[in-house]
Symmetry: C2
Subunit: 213 residues, 2 copies
């Protein structure tokens, strides 16, 4: 299978981490988002929404959306529990990560690093306030659990880890319980981190993507 992938994207890193921990071979196809490579007709065939990552299995249609890819890859492995109620908790955290953690933590980090927001702007302050509340909730949750879903390390940890472990780049302070959990994630078999910094062409003014996050 092939992974259409952007090195500096936390959403793409989630998939690379899961693939590494599942020891699944794949061909990585680098996509330079800010050089316009998601805006081509060819990319629209893979994902009309023009986001990365997109997984292209050998025998199925292209699959965008990191959360969907994670569930799909984890099926039948230790990264997704068998019990329906436990699985549902994994789903829950995958959706929470995409609809709450990503727009706040990852959105703030991207905009500050690439000069789209200044730290004192109202846009940055609003995202920081929400991000701090969410990190507090995450800390309360992890203070009582070894992993995001208590049955064990799962794709829920992978999804939450991807942007939370770099929240400091956005000027956010990670609560102690979150730091401790990050240590547990990084101690998992097969763990690796190849998330790259945003390249120069991601700086404000250079963007050609319809998506800004």
């Amino acid at each position: 299978m092939r992974l259409f992938d952007y090195r500096a994207s936390g959403n793409c890193y989630k998939v690379r981490l899961a693939l590494a921990q599942l020891a699944l071979p794949y061909e990585r196809v680098p996509v330079d988002i800010f050089a316009g490579e998601t805006l081509t007709d060819e990319f629209a065939q893979l994902n009309p929404v023009r986001t990365t990552p997109v997984l292209v299995p050998d025998d199925g249609p292209p699959l965008p959306e990191s959360g969907a890819i994670l569930i799909h890859l984890a099926e039948g492995t230790s990264l997704l529990p068998d019990d329906p109620a436990d699985r549902a908790q994994v789903y829950r955290w995958l959706f929470f990560e995409q609809s709450a953690l990503m727009p706040t933590i990852a959105g703030l980090r991207f905009r500050l690093i690439t000069g789209r927001l200044t730290p004192d702007s109202s846009g940055a302050r609003a995202r920081r306030h929400m991000a701090e509340q969410l990190l507090g909730l995450l800390a309360d949750h992890l203070a009582e659990r070894e992993f995001v879903v208590e049955t064990g390390y799962s794709v829920a940890d992978i999804a939450v880890y991807a942007y939370v472990h770099v929240a400091g780049d956005a000027g956010l302070t990670l609560p102690e319980a979150v730091e401790a959990w990050i240590g547990r994630v990084e101690a998992q078999p097969g763990f690796m981190n190849d998330l790259e910094p945003y390249p120069a062409n991601a700086q404000a003014g250079a963007s050609v993507s319809i998506y800004d996050g």
Copy 2:
């Protein structure tokens, strides 16, 4: 099982629709978000993030996040395909709905109806621009398919329908292919629509929720 539910929430309506079409009995527990009922200690036990819906099964932990609830309820039914590649496409649309359609279409609708944004504000214009692009992509997708995932009517249709069918409330025009698909959804066995208008206490200034959408 019990559903902690807000009548005017499209995310809650998704779950009510799935439960109705699956003919599953449940007890509805109404939650008045804008009267502060998600801000109680009791509600935090169900969902620290304080969003609705929350499904409480008879024999499992509380389950927030409409996307997670939909997958969980649909497992083993006609609303979720068996084939892994087809299932993954359903997941994909559930995530896309939450991370792209909801903040734009539902976010714009909520803010206009409740007086949080005026139609000419930059916040409304930005959301409208993105919503129009996304509705265009959805129309292109549905012009070639009977349902969101071509294997048949699924929870992906339920999720996308919930806020898209009321996009007109936000001043958005639904493309013809989307209108035609809405007709096909509404013709499904067991279809019902009990989504209510936002009540008076949802108007700007009356909000006490940490979430605004």
